[in-house]
Amino acid sequence: MIRTRDLALGALWGLTTVAMGVAIGLVFLYAPEERVMGAPQRIFYFHVPMALMTFLSVFVLLVGSIGYLWTRRSAWDDLGRAASDTGLLFCTLVLVTGPIWAKPAWGVWWTWEARLTTTLLLWLLLVGIRMVRSYAVNRDQGARLAAVIGIVAALDVPIIYKAVDWWRGQHPVLFRQGGGQALAPGMSETFSFCIVTFVLLFALLLATRYRLARLEDRSLHAIERLRAG
């Protein structure tokens, strides 16, 4: 029996795969070569959308956290958990690929400039949420405490972003809007498409992770009923 849920998920799979294929083609074949940096600049068609998806994950985490504290329905906590996981994934990928690009480009693996520092702080916050969940005595406490930290962290993200920005600021401005470098037409289309692709990918990862969390919930319930019965 195929449910609409499965159909929707399957469609999302298909759409994401196609979009990713097109995106890769665009990035490597269509987008013009950047004047200053050359071929290595192409990584940013992936790197920047992944960073954006981290922020999107945090937003969904905020929604899930508030939803859980408001309604106490485990579905909201499952959403929060899924968002935490995807957030941590994208954040880790950004943190790993950044230095890999930076070493040949800037000569150092790491600098304490605004964007890298902010991403590291965000990564630490997400790990902290995970830690609290795992240390919690029971499922409900884990969900509650993680939700509280989730709200604090999500509200903090823009603040950390601004604060560290004021304090530092030397991130490569490859896609500056308005003045300065105008974005070459080939680049901006590719970039926009990549963002859309990664939003689809984010939705896919979130949905599958959410499914997993719901299933784990059901099995926990079943275990409890068995023990009680």
């Binding site: 990584i43 990928l93 790993v96 890999i100 690009w101 990862l205 992770r209 009923r225 068995l226």
Partner: protein, 50 residues
């Protein structure tokens, strides 16, 4: 060229990371699915008996 070597590793990390995440999720889902089936069988059985 040195740059390209690093690029290769960066892309590799991205794909491996994404694939690993998806695969991991799917594997865990399979396991939980099986566990759920077992549990629901046992539940049905104990309800029939009880």
């Amino acid at each position: 060229m040195k740059n390209y070597a690093f690029l290769f590793w960066a892309y590799l990390v991205i794909w491996l990371g994404l694939a690993g995440f998806l695969l991991g999720t799917l594997v865990r889902m399979r396991r939980v699915d099986e566990r759920l089936d077992r549990l629901e069988h046992e539940l049905a059985r104990s309800e029939r008996e009880g």
